[in-house]
Symmetry: C2
Subunit: 604 residues, 2 copies
Amino acid sequence: MNKHNPIPTITTGPLPASRKVWHPGQIHPGLRVPMREIELHPSAMEPPVTVYDASGPYTDPEAVIDIARGLPRPREGWTVAGDVERYDGRQVQPEDNGFVTGERLTPAFPRQYQPLRATEGKAVTQMAYARAGIITPEMEFVAIRENLGRRAAREQLIRDGNDWGAAIPDHVTPEFVRQEIASGRAIIPANINHPEVEPMIIGRNFLVKINANIGNSAVTSSMEEEVEKLVWAIRWGADTVMDLSTGRNIHNIRDWIIRNSPVPIGTVPIYQALEKVGGIAEDLTWEIFRDTLIEQAEQGVDYFTIHAGVRLPFIPLTAERVTGIVSRGGSIMAKWCLHHHRESFLYEHFDEICDIMRAYDVSFSLGDGLRPGSIADANDAAQFAELETLGELTQIAWEKDCQVMIEGPGHVPMHKIKENMDKQLETCGEAPFYTLGPLTTDIAPGYDHITSAIGAAMIGWFGTAMLCYVTPKEHLGLPDRDDVKVGVITYKIAAHAADLAKGHPAAKLRDDALSRARFEFRWEDQFNISLDPDTARSFHDQTLPKEAHKLAHFCSMCGPKFCSMKISHDIRAEARAQQGMEDMAQKYREGGDLYMPADAAGQD
Amino acid sequence: MNKHNPIPTITTGPLPASRKVWHPGQIHPGLRVPMREIELHPSAMEPPVTVYDASGPYTDPEAVIDIARGLPRPREGWTVAGDVERYDGRQVQPEDNGFVTGERLTPAFPRQYQPLRATEGKAVTQMAYARAGIITPEMEFVAIRENLGRRAAREQLIRDGNDWGAAIPDHVTPEFVRQEIASGRAIIPANINHPEVEPMIIGRNFLVKINANIGNSAVTSSMEEEVEKLVWAIRWGADTVMDLSTGRNIHNIRDWIIRNSPVPIGTVPIYQALEKVGGIAEDLTWEIFRDTLIEQAEQGVDYFTIHAGVRLPFIPLTAERVTGIVSRGGSIMAKWCLHHHRESFLYEHFDEICDIMRAYDVSFSLGDGLRPGSIADANDAAQFAELETLGELTQIAWEKDCQVMIEGPGHVPMHKIKENMDKQLETCGEAPFYTLGPLTTDIAPGYDHITSAIGAAMIGWFGTAMLCYVTPKEHLGLPDRDDVKVGVITYKIAAHAADLAKGHPAAKLRDDALSRARFEFRWEDQFNISLDPDTARSFHDQTLPKEAHKLAHFCSMCGPKFCSMKISHDIRAEARAQQGMEDMAQKYREGGDLYMPADAAGQD
């Protein structure tokens, strides 16, 4: 897991036994909504298993990948004529790339597009259109995507789950998506300057999503290396990716990432703003921050983490914490506020921030700068004071038709997780919750993908719409390629466990298909349906390497004589053979006793 | 993680910065109750962190380890004169070791002890003594052990948690232990023929425990190899170990394991009984099974998994399951019942089984032979029909003063976990629950330690007393040394997260100590307090290898300029400096607004 990797080339090609398919729209017939179909062994006599596919063109064998050209731009032309205008964007400044020059400067992305923005007075957000009763292509796209190829009419549906008061429909319609976005319960992060994106939706009544964080290394890293981090994360299922790069070249690297990303990209603009003032928090100004928002909005960043809830009066509430302020953005703003004895410029200028967001449809991810960094600090006054402020800010953003999600903790013991979800729903008007973990104990550095997967699965079940992954390196170091994969797979597990518990109608199909394959000893199917076919196969091979064993009708754990599954098959055969077994079972259920008369004892 | 390991020697020596200490008894002054003290850096100005220590003499640098001599026998002489008798035990039969002879036969353990059993009519179980009002050395031992060195009087205690109706005391007294055992709510698995054991308690009102499974490999394995599997599992925190060996040499290997085990050993006797009849389930008889119980009870096995709840009328209920019967023991008994069309001999002879258990104080682990093997089969009629039977059998066992715990699932989605716990408490009279996982989704073979840790943490919180670990190889192959460690650490995380959420008074101390170390950049302390210091240190070294960095006042993730923790320290300093900050915070809490007059804006 810890070997050091050479600079990778871009990973392409389908996952095992998988084929990418595209579903067309009806309102917008030009749509091509991607899904992945996993082919099963003929003996299964089952249709392919259809799963959600966030990987974009990289897993399409037909696609020609050239990161210097960027991805196709399916959303080009989806904007409404008259609502948007092209204009000469802001000029790239030396500080945008940390004043690096010459050969240490990452080259600009070869193709520069003129940015789009809303025409004067217009809002071009999905929320604005939803409220106007318009079903955008993005809305129909995600409606089709969320149904995972299910045809509502064709099946009778058994709903099984507890959604804690959410309203997950049997079948997602474009109109349902529109209503959810209009109400603020869901967002589609999709900047009008990121036409490469394949739209996805974040909301409590949809599949639980996961985010993976990437960032440039301290050492100068190549564009290819940075793009591969993105491609690797979405190959395993990351629904959005946050670029947390700092230091040099971040403007140019961001361009390479966005132009090659089929998933929404999020950033924390305060990081770049801080770079522009040489890392001195006190030197930050609204003007520098504002300029950074425009810079990144024009590039096509889909959502911004904005720590506008870190207000001056809350800072003393953190002074006696065990771990103080652990959010980078939060601590930067806290330092600025304390130094100047002033209220946060993010809070004071929130209106103007909204005006920028609505002009490009950049979604808010209102940051939890005061999230707890330890079990001891969970659910404290500082955390909840900030949450209340995020609720106020949500209302202001909604008045401006801006899309909003709310970031959440952090470190929280299991018995305090639900309070976080309940408070967030109540305080923030059901705006989507986007949580980091939470970690359910502090005592396992090196395993925090696991301490946090426990909390993530639970809070996802309770209603969190997107889970930010945690890798095994959390608290210790920078995740390598293997850590990123483990983090993504772990969070796909948490998100899927949450979908199952919420009773999402499409979630259980994959579990059942895998379990049938397991029971019928279709080893290849079992590997291929799993979240990580390569690892499943290699673990099996360690015990039973031979190809023949992939056809073996016994488990690698027990061997032929001792396999309970094998015995169960005999039981099923015998049970079915035995005339009236079912009636007898029925008789038992009705309170009957043994169905064999006692005197039959000892026969055979 | 997957490299193949050579045959290991026995792993000995303390964990980093750790020292084994022993606490004496008061009722029984001769007791030496082991705990581990983790030394912190002087700058912490904190006492050592005391943690539970299941590792036995192997981590004691003073101890001389010779597996051919076995461990010291602290419990020798703890039995009550007149209650027990030594006698000539059963002769070892060729079939006990699978008829293997010559050099392929694992040598018998060099020292054979004459077995102990209860004298005619006596019960020598902890439950019998507890009901008689007697506080045994075992009871005082576990009482001291559960308090983790806390002196109740010396601290004022803040209880924080939700124990779902359990009754966890502020401080565990020997009398409390006695009452819990008398009521059947807790057990101390400790065969009178296993004097090497350091007593531990399993119950809902005590620390959540974990079990690790080991077993001999298909290839003939050395005694040292088998003992090392045990030592390795308890080094990382396994509280009990189940020996699931099959095939040859299992009698002799079991002897080597028990004589060298400081933790209770559990087995599934039906596995060996099946070996004795050449693996043909139909050929099993009560007499062969009974003989196997005696054989293993005389060796000192502390608890037996007995699948007496798999009754003939329940078998048809499994016929239409997605994954049928996945328990080995359950499927063996089901096959026997179906073939003979007879009720299970385990069920019919349960009284006689109790008489054997009480004569040696072997605890029951009533097996869930019909547990669900997939999300689809969770909480179904077969599973709950068996659970009701286990409830009946519990009452019978309790009438005979036998100690009982109940095994549980399996594969269960999150929304169906609590029903399992509630039904078990109600049906089985609060007998301790001992669950495998449960796995919260089927779609991640290769990561089932994680899919199950989510369910294990939750059901542990709800009241499960012991969690049976699952390794990454579950469903795929045999766990190697690294898999066992990952499985144990993962389950220590689940158990500890449960202790925190239940509000166990000693649980949070370790989290707080680690978080303080993290906030103060005491890297070595952070590693040493963690569940796996080696992994934490190596992950940190991958990013910041230099020794100097272990003293660095910044995180390896962000570097010096960007570290939020560092900024928090500045904030704390400034906050404390600023006169009246606390009052201002108070003012805010009372609904005040900013405490800086607006005209102060722009100063500095």
